[in-house]
């Protein structure tokens, strides 16, 4: 199974949509709250070169923002 990581902030609706999508499809994932977790924030910026949430990794594939169709493809759903 693919390793799924999401970097998110609590008030971000796209992050919520992404997490709901993962929950509905019973995909396990690790969630980093980058509003609080400074280390995770630095890691996200370094790994993704992005300053916008959500950043989602499916193994080594990266997605910025939430696009259900693309996420389905990455997760092979």
């Amino acid at each position: 199974m693919a390793k799924v990581t999401i970097y998110s902030t609590p008030a971000c609706v796209y992050c919520k949509m992404a997490k709901e999508f993962l929950n509905e499809n019973k995909i396990e994932y690790t969630d980093f709250n980058v509003a609080e977790d400074e280390k995770a924030r630095e890691e996200m910026v370094e790994k993704s070169g992005q300053m916008g949430v959500p950043v989602i990794f499916v193994d080594n594939e990266m997605m910025v923002g939430f696009d259900g169709e693309r996420l389905k493809e990455l997760l092979k759903l």
């Binding site: 902030t9 008030a11 609706v13 992050c15 919520k16 980058v34 300053m51 916008g52 259900g68």
Partner: protein, 308 residues
């Protein structure tokens, strides 16, 4: 075949769905972004009946009310709309997505809302998500301890600046004309020591390397170009309606907003109604969008009764 298709799941669309489903109309809401623009607001202070409200939670309640009364909600991005006639010469509408899936309905309520307007200056696209952002709610925490600029002076801009006071070290607010946001927020911001208003400023360029490093603006009084060293640019200069897929199916004004009869929410095409920020109404507020959605649904119900 649905009685009514509601395109958009924000305040206007979901309220229309509540009213339509209570009229026992067979109702489907096509959602693109859950909760629309209201759901992007972490704090709402002016929605009557609530003193402190989270936009996403409010829209979850709207949605529950709609589905409890029987409305269906599904994720569907319309790419095309067409009018067809059946054997009895009755007209109906067909919505199609990019995979060619079709949904039919007797009437449609357009409630697609709006998206943030872009500055259209060099560097904006290049540094999008690399310092340039349109969602303070989402991205403000990423700029902890940094200097940022908010471009714009409407309510969205002032709210963005307010959210940023929790995180950023220094917040410039770039105002081109006058401050249009609510005086209550404006007064609060003026008292914040980390906030600095820059007036008569026209944004010219966003610069950076891997990420944003500065913003260049023209000081319209001195006619000089000036530079602000910032790592974040929060663009809040209004919105543009989400009407791309409509083409010229119904009348739009020069801003791309759908022209409606303000009494009935009818568009130029019979059987098509519209509500909320996608239309040419003057005020863009959750409570107004909700009211407009209710109006559109009730008028749509009347139209269906006399035409189907």
């Amino acid at each position: 075949m649905y009685d009514v298709l509601i395109i958009g799941g924000g305040a206007a669309g979901m309220t229309a769905a509540i009213y339509a489903s209570r009229k026992k109309l067979n109702t489907l809401v096509l959602e693109h972004e859950k909760g629309g623009q209201t759901a992007l607001q972490p704090e709402i202070w002016n929605y009557p009946g609530y003193t402190d409200l989270n936009g996403a939670k409010l829209l979850d309640v709207f949605r529950k009310q709609a589905t409890d009364f029987g409305a269906e909600v599904r994720s569907f991005v319309a790419e095309k709309i067409q009018l067809e006639k059946n054997e009895e010469d009755k007209e109906f509408f067909i919505l199609e997505n990019k995979d060619g899936e079709k949904i039919k309905a007797k009437s449609v309520i357009l409630a697609m809302g709006a998206k943030p307007r872009k500055l259209g200056v060099p560097g904006e696209e290049e540094f999008s998500n690399k310092g340039v952002t349109y969602c303070a709610t989402c991205d403000a925490p990423l700029f902890s301890g940094k200097d940022v600029v908010v471009v714009g002076a409407g309510n969205t801009a002032l709210d963005a600046a307010m959210q940023l006071t929790k995180y950023a070290d220094k917040i410039y607010i770039l105002v081109r004309g006058e401050v249009k946001g609510d005086p209550i927020t404006y007064e609060k911001l003026k008292k914040e020591s980390k906030v600095e208003f820059v007036f008569n400023a026209e944004t010219k360029e966003i610069k950076g390397d891997q990420f944003v490093t500065s913003l260049i603006y023209k000081d319209k009084e001195s006619n000089e170009d000036k530079e602000l060293k910032v790592s974040g640019v929060f663009v809040s200069i209004g919105s543009i309606p989400n009407t791309d897929f409509l083409g010229d199916f119904c009348e739009k004004n020069q801003f791309g907003q759908i022209v409606i009869n303000p009494r009935t929410n009818a568009t130029s095409k019979a059987g098509i109604f519209a509500a909320g920020d996608v239309t040419d109404i003057e005020e863009r507020q959750a409570v107004i969008a909700a009211g407009e959605g209710a109006k559109a649904a009730l008028q749509c119900y009347k139209w269906l009764k006399s035409n189907h």
